[in-house]
Amino acid sequence: MADEAGLAKKPKMLVILFATIVLHLTSLIILFIATCASAWRTHGDTSYDLWYDCTQINGGYKCSGNGDADWLQAVQALMVLATIFCLISFIIFLCQLFTLVKGGRFFFTAVFQILASLFVMSGAIIYTVMSPQWKNDSDTYGYAFVLAWLAFPLTLISGLIYIILRKKE
């Protein structure tokens, strides 16, 4: 009976582990896209922020560097840091998976993941608050902006899961 219970638990543990890894990787990919794609604000064929203002003309792109506003550079830095910290937490998770003692918690993984969520939250908030100064009324928020706001709860939930998660066997 105990053996059966033990065998029944193993796939459950594997499912939880798999789901955790998928969640972490999803948030990492979303952070990468939100940081690298310059589409936080769109206006017709032109997409603005974080790095370039690109206009689609005749099938090609015409890009120019955007104005070097102080707050925009802060958002850039926060997004890059969030991506780096999410990546570091994933590496630490893989390390701790093999080196942690039985019953131990993934403390460092959780710390870095929660820091990443704080950074992306700060970046998204700063951008949301400051961008109306630049925005024309006909501008709309681009997909990268939506992804950044999506990355915040994903990383936060992922970090909280790591606080609860304990290593077994």
């Binding site: 070097d68 550079q73 802060a74 830095a77 926060l78 840091l81």
Partner: protein, 203 residues
């Protein structure tokens, strides 16, 4: 002997008279912010003593224009800023002619002041020489270069991270060195505690 001396002195005088051409010195380029004041300095070098008839003249040629206009003249001990023109009421003479300084101060700069300024100095009888030009560039504000704030924020945070990790490992290393004394004191305390509790129980 005398003829050789006479010849050399004539030659030297000739060289000296050639080098009495006046040399005007200014900066080559000047950068300034909109709304600020800028001092355009001009001085000259001359073999002659500074004459009371020393004169300075400033001309201005806007960017893209072909002709230069006269904007300032100092002569006969008096300064004469142009009472018409782009620098009306904005020009002030801040030089010291007895010290061969003919600098002017332009106040409240505007973008239309971009251009080339020419300073011409005359020190009678030394009047030959080249005028010198300054290029004035007016900026809106000193721009923060792209990426300076970004890079510094990233660098500071990652630096703090590395520092915290280094301190953590350093503390672990230091505690590992002292761990022997810690555990011994713990054993000692535990022993005393047990003995104390046993004594209490007996009592």
């Amino acid at each position: 002997m005398l003829s050789v001396l006479a010849l050399t002195s004539v030659v030297l005088l000739g060289i000296a008279s050639q080098s009495t051409a006046l040399v005007v010195n200014t900066d080559s380029e000047k950068h300034a912010l909109v709304g600020s004041d800028v001092r355009l300095s001009c001085s000259f070098f001359s073999w002659q003593w500074t004459s009371p008839e020393v004169s300075f003249t400033w001309h201005y040629r806007p960017d893209g224009a072909k002709d230069a206009i006269s904007i300032f003249h100092y002569g006969g001990g008096e300064a004469y800023p142009a009472n018409k023109g782009p620098f009306q009421n904005r020009l002030e003479f801040v030089g010291n002619p007895s010290r061969r300084d003919g600098s002017i101060l332009i106040k409240n700069l505007d973008f239309g002041d971009n251009g080339t300024f020419t300073c011409d100095a005359k020190n009678p009888p030394d009047i030959g020489g080249h005028p010198s030009t300054i290029r004035l560039l007016v900026f809106e504000k000193v721009p923060v270069q792209a990426g300076v704030i970004t890079g510094s924020i990233i660098g500071v945070v990652l630096g703090l991270l590395i520092l915290v990790v280094a301190i953590y490992y350093l503390m672990r290393f230091l505690v590992a060195r002292r761990v022997f004394s810690l555990s011994m004191s713990k054993h000692g305390k535990k022993g005393k505690g047990k003995e104390g509790s046993q004594q209490k129980q007996r009592i």
